[in-house]
């Protein structure tokens, strides 16, 4: 008679001689361990499990199949049917503690495998090539118009270029606040006709782009103005790309240098200080079909003129001031610790960090502080210059997925994730973080680097706390974590020259910390 009758939860099974065997203690029930090397995801164990405690889990593209796992070891009665019926003998039964040990051991082993090492070498080679290429590629820097009221000068500049009709891309919130009114009036004054396209969502989608493109063509516009936060500016960039490249769909432009024909004259008026979109080569867009956020990178997307007008940012609520400011800080920090930086990007990033440390909390407390606002706008611009050449890192890779899946504002997601990722890569980029701490004015040369780097991360955490930024992401679901990890790593590898690579397991751990 089989031994597994001893674990029948109801004690109802009798052996051949008719007596109920002594029950085994719950703590001593053996649990299944799934050997990923042998498993093929056939799902036989799911079917034979009498308690239904095995699940096939999320997709794992590394294996090209889903691997089963026990949802809750409490429900497993240790009957061993799965181990018995597994066609390829991939399941071993063992005590719970041993199983957990094996799981950790296997995960670590996977991280050390030769395949992963080779991949890392491949990524670094790619990044090296990109670094060399970035020396050749002429990254344009937009003409800057700064200071209070500078937005009025933009109309004049547009007119000077002989443009008769512009498309102003903005969003409904700004239109309700009547923020663009002054700018639109000045356009009228200079005899430049305009059409407003304000149907841009918080995370712009491909549908928004197509709608904007339709309006551009209907009204025979000749130039585009992106007016607002990151969303309208990014949307405006992609509208421009689509107008000149009608044969390329938005999905086809995903990646590096896929925009073939330069976009129409493009001007940026940021109303938040954070995205840096007014100077970068990147535009981020969401595919509503699968909630996948992706980036289009091309030097043709850099605007001709960027206007940094602190007056436009006066009415910004403190919540948005803080998160967009932290977004700019994330750009600066990630660009600085990345391996593709050079002296030019380092200088810009240091400037940005200094300005943000000095001014962000001031602007948060007092929105009408013009000097702080202006400095924040400049910081965002500098950070933009830095990261468009030296790229961003894992913070952005994860934050993009939070935006794509749950619509979490990009700045907020960045602010929340930044300290966790810095904790992870602190050791590898200790030197750089220490230098940033000195540049930010929270330390002096000569102090131990370790201490400085810790102080830098602590400073970010305090800033978050002071500005009431939470430590986790509320809508995050536990079941989505593997998916987020897969997508984030897909985005980061091999493009982002991060200081130290993250494996799938570590990424899952870090995303797991964001659970509220």
């Amino acid at each position: 008679m089989a031994d597994n009758i001893k674990v029948c939860p109801e004690g109802a099974v009798k052996d051949a001689s008719g007596h109920v065997p002594e029950r085994v203690k719950r703590a001593e029930w053996k649990k299944p361990f799934f050997d990923r090397q042998k498993c093929n995801g056939c799902g036989v164990c799911l079917d034979v499990c009498p308690t239904g405690c095995i699940s096939l889990g999320a997709p794992d593209r590394r294996d090209h199949h889903a691997c089963p796992r026990v949802i809750d070891f409490k429900n497993c009665i240790g009957c061993g049917f799965c181990a018995l019926e597994c066609p390829v003998d991939a399941i071993e039964m063992d005590l719970l503690s041993v199983v957990e040990e094996k799981m950790i051991k296997e995960a670590v082993q996977r991280d050390k495998s030769m395949k992963w090492t080779l991949k890392k070498i491949g990524y670094r080679a790619f990044q090296k090539v990109m670094k060399l290429a970035s020396k050749i590629i002429p990254f344009p820097i937009p003409v800057l118009l700064t200071g209070p009221g500078s937005v009025m000068m933009l109309a004049q500049n547009i007119k000077a270029r002989g443009i008769k009709h512009v498309l102003v891309v903005t969003d409904k919130v700004l239109m309700d606040l009547k923020l663009p009114d002054g700018f639109l009036a000045s356009l009228k004054e200079h005899g430049v006709a305009y059409t407003v396209f304000d149907d841009v969502q918080a995370n712009p989608t491909i549908e928004n782009v197509e709608a904007g493109r339709k309006i551009y063509r209907q009204n025979k516009c000749r130039a585009i103005v992106g007016f607002g936060g990151g969303s309208p500016m990014d949307c405006a960039k992609i509208i421009g790309a689509r107008i000149r490249n009608p044969y390329l769909s938005v999905r086809m432009m995903k990646g590096l240098f896929r925009v073939i024909i330069p976009i129409p004259p493009f001007f940026c008026v940021p109303t938040t200080a954070g995205t840096g979109s007014e100077t970068t080569v990147v535009a981020v867009i969401t595919d509503a079909g699968n909630h996948f956020k992706f980036a289009i990178n091309d030097i043709k997307l850099v605007p001709k003129i960027a206007v940094l007008d602190p007056e436009l940012m006066k009415g910004l609520p403190p919540q948005i001031t803080s998160t967009t400011g932290m977004d700019a800080l994330t750009h600066a920090v990630e660009a600085y610790i990345n391996l593709s930086g050079n002296s030019f990007t380092d200088e810009n990033a240091e400037n940005a960090v200094r300005l943000i440390f000095e001014n962000l909390e001031k602007a948060y407390l007092d929105g009408s502080d013009m000097e702080a606002r202006n400095n924040m706008a400049l910081a965002s611009f500098y950070a933009g210059i830095a990261f468009t050449r030296a790229y961003v890192g894992y913070v952005h890779a994860i934050a993009h997925n939070m935006g794509g899946l749950y619509g979490v504002p990009h700045g907020l997601a960045n602010a929340v994730i930044l300290p966790y990722v810095l904790d992870f890569c602190r050791k590898a980029s200790e030197k750089r973080l220490a230098r940033l701490a000195v540049a930010g004015g929270i330390g002096t040369h000569g102090e131990p680097e370790e201490e400085l780097s810790y102080r830098f991360i602590e400073k970010i955490k305090t800033m978050n706390k002071n500005m009431k930024i939470p430590t986790g992401i509320e809508p995050l679901k536990k079941s989505d974590i593997p998916l987020i990890a897969v997508r984030a790593l897909k985005e980061a590898h091999p493009l982002y020259p991060v200081p130290v690579f993250m494996t799938h397991r570590v990424c899952e751990e870090i995303v797991g910390k964001l659970l509220v």
């Binding site: 031994d3 079917d47 019926e85």
Partner: protein, 679 residues
């Protein structure tokens, strides 16, 4: 606790012995030895033990179904009446530790063709039937009110289904899973959607929220019996004869499946297709290459390749690869589907996992990854290149439980009628049925599912639609004996033409073709069958009719065997040496037979299906595929330019090779007597 308790260490002990006393009658032969007969008219549920010799003769699955149905359905039975039988059958190998063997069968007299009807489906339902202790559940009679059958280890009863009647397939499944759940273990549900309830002749039976046994119109039979669902929660064990042997063979198979080199990007598959089209010679296809594509993308990997090589019918079989070129098919390139795939989906005991769950932005939010057949039937076949509508329609048709291939054919047929002026805007309720009008396609499918207005005319397939429209529209309707053929062009591969026309279930793309034969590599294990050279001229396929007929016979036999054991075609494509079906059957049952003997058994089962058709008054000659799909008239452009098939001669040779009458396709009375007498 003693070390012996550890199940993993003590395998041999319960390999041979039944676990519970109540299961003492259970056989250690991979099958359960019983079937369940349910009379829906009287509510009578009766177990029936089958002797071993039935299994030795008919194996299980489709073979068992053929045996029961041939003997028990009277000759003049109405397919939608009480005399028809509807059987749910797992495969012989399901649950025995073999891989790729998780498919189940529905059998019955088809209302669509009037003859033998079967439909095959994956998912997780197949082992559930066996775990209830049965090798088949057969329904007869008609219930007064809607019911569903519930089975677990203690209870077998028909329960009232009036509260789920009217729900779609996904809602029904969710409702019943919740209602009948015991702890964490959910029961397995097979049910019909709204199309089956409204007795649409192209409806199927759905399981796992969107996998459908769709062909032959058996959902209509279930709907006519007012049987909404079958809910199974049995926990009995399936014990093979020699588990270690089963595992040994499974490991061989598994090693081949795990071999997965990195592969090209999706749109590049179109290039392969174009090369295959342009070369005058064809290379023998190896299933391993197809497996790599299946594992990476699923069946959608063929979306661009297939039209390029001329394997996909375009524009209601009228168009060609020229009409559906690279740029038009680009919108449905394989990468589009994997990008929105959030969960990988495996059927039971499948190491390949070609399925997936995709997130969409329509009102349903997610859908099963559309199959190649669906994408082409609703895409290139109607010239629709809006891939979003395909995702949406996939879910709409899944929920209704309607066959996507037949629905695509019906729509394309209506479009051509509209183009030729046979129907006008008034007939179509104001829909502009021009080629590629995706909005009209969506509106029409929604009408078909609800049987509203013009949708009612198309909701029973093209053969019924021709009768309802008239006006000489039959020349635009492509079907074989009432069943719409699959999305593989018979002009590109004469094997498809033969199997569409000559099988007891006509119009089915899963039964055989020249390419399938190449991938089976059966000549390595079965004696006396034609071998395909590594490279051959394409035109030889059209000239050598004798060889084509021989290949067709082997295909039919092998596929019958595959359906008997419940294996998946995509697994079998790996080749007979890599996936050893014959060895698995021996290991599971303890029989010691050679592959040739199994092929003979399969031939008998195939003959029995043909005899079923003859008994029910089907003329095998009339099941011939419509002329347009045979290259009559010849196409003047595209991949299949100037190709036509001499199907009449091929059918005759095929019947001859089976030993049937070469003029009428009837097995002789002596043959049939011999097949059914031994049992």
């Amino acid at each position: 606790m003693s070390e012996k308790h550890v199940a993993g260490l003590n395998l041999e002990k319960y390999n041979r012995k039944p676990v519970r006393k109540s299961e003492g009658s259970m056989k250690e032969k991979g099958y359960m030895g019983k079937i369940l007969n349910v009379d829906l008219t009287t509510g009578d549920i009766r177990e029936e033990e089958l002797p071993d010799r039935v299994y030795e003769k008919y194996l299980g699955g489709m073979g068992l179904g053929a045996y029961i149905l041939y003997n028990r359905i009277p000759a003049d039975a109405d397919p939608l009446g009480p005399d028809n039988l509807l059987g749910f059958l797992p495969g012989l190998l399901t649950g025995t530790g073999s891989l790729f063997t998780g498919r189940w069968m529905v059998v019955g007299k088809s209302p669509l063709t009037g003859g033998w009807g079967d439909a095959n489906c994956g998912g997780n339902f197949s082992p559930a039937i066996k775990r209830c202790g049965y090798d088949g559940i057969f329904f007869t009679g008609i219930s007064e009110k809607p019911v569903y059958l519930y089975i677990d280890d203690k209870v077998k009863e028909l329960r009232d289904a009036s509260d789920v009647w009217g729900m779609d397939a996904v809602e029904t499944e969710e409702f019943l899973e919740k209602k009948e759940a015991r702890g964490d273990k959910k029961p397995k549900v097979a049910c019909i959607g709204t199309a089956g309830e409204s007795i649409s002749l192209i409806s199927g039976i759905s399981t796992d929220k969107g996998r459908i046994a769709a062909r032959s119109g058996l959902g209509a039979v279930m709907g006519a019996k007012r049987l909404k669902a079958v809910v199974l929660a049995g926990k009995q064990r399936i014990v093979p004869h020699d588990r270690q042997e089963m595992k040994r063979i499974s490991r061989i198979c598994n090693n081949w499946v795990r071999f997965q080199p990195p592969f090209v990007s999706g749109p590049l598959t179109a290039l392969f297709g174009a090369i295959m089209r342009l070369l005058p010679v064809a290379f023998t296809m190896d299933g391993l290459l197809y497996k790599i594509m299946l594992k990476k993308w699923g069946t959608v990997s063929m979306n661009q390749m297939s039209p390029e090589m001329g394997d996909s019918p375009i524009k209601n079989w009228k168009g060609s690869s020229r009409d559906w070129g690279f740029m038009k098919s680009y919108s449905s390139n394989p990468d589009v589907f994997t990008q929105c795939e959030t969960i990988k989906y495996h059927c039971y005991s499948c190491p390949l996992g070609c399925g997936g769950i995709c997130t969409t932005d329509d009102k349903y939010g997610k859908t099963h990854k559309p199959e190649y057949e669906t994408v082409l039937a609703l895409g290139g076949f109607c010239m629709n290149h809006d891939v979003k509508t395909i995702f949406y329609l996939n879910e709409v048709l899944n929920r209704a439980g309607m066959d996507t291939i037949s629905a695509g054919h019906a729509i394309a047929f209506a479009m051509e009628c509209y183009e030729e002026g046979l129907i006008t805007r008034e007939d179509t309720d104001g829909l502009e049925l021009t080629w590629g009008n995706s909005e009209a396609i969506v509106a029409l499918v929604e009408k078909m599912v609800r049987r509203e207005g013009f949708g009612h005319i198309l909701a029973d397939g093209v053969k019924q639609a021709v009768e309802r429209i008239g006006k000489g529209s039959e020349k635009f309707a492509v079907h074989a004996g009432g069943q719409e053929p699959g999305m593989h062009d018979s002009r590109n591969d004469p094997g498809y033409a033969l199997h569409y026309s000559v099988e007891p279930t006509p119009g089915r793309h899963t039964l055989g073709s020249h390419m399938y034969y190449e991938m089976y590599q059966l000549w390595k294990v079965v004696k006396g069958i034609p071998k395909i050279p590594p490279m051959y001229r394409k035109s030889s396929k059209y000239r050598d009719i004798d060889k084509q007929a021989q290949i067709g016979v082997v295909n039919s036999k092998y596929m019958t065997l595959i359906n008997c054991v419940g294996a998946c075609m995509f697994g079998v494509f790996l080749g007979a040496k890599r996936i050893r079906i014959f060895d698995w059957i021996n290991g599971a049952t303890g029989w010691e037979l050679t592959p040739d003997q199994y092929m003979e058994k399969a031939a008998d089962i195939h003959s029995l299906k043909q005899a079923f058709n003859i008994k029910h008054g089907i003329d095998p000659k009339k099941a011939k595929l419509s002329d347009r799909a045979l290259g009559r008239p010849l196409q003047n452009k595209g991949a299949n330019k100037g190709r036509s098939i001499d199907i009449e001669a091929m059918m005759k040779r095929y019947w001859e090779a089976f030993g049937w009458d070469s003029d009428t396709g009837r097995p002789s009375d002596g043959q049939i007597q011999k097949i059914i007498a031994d049992v």
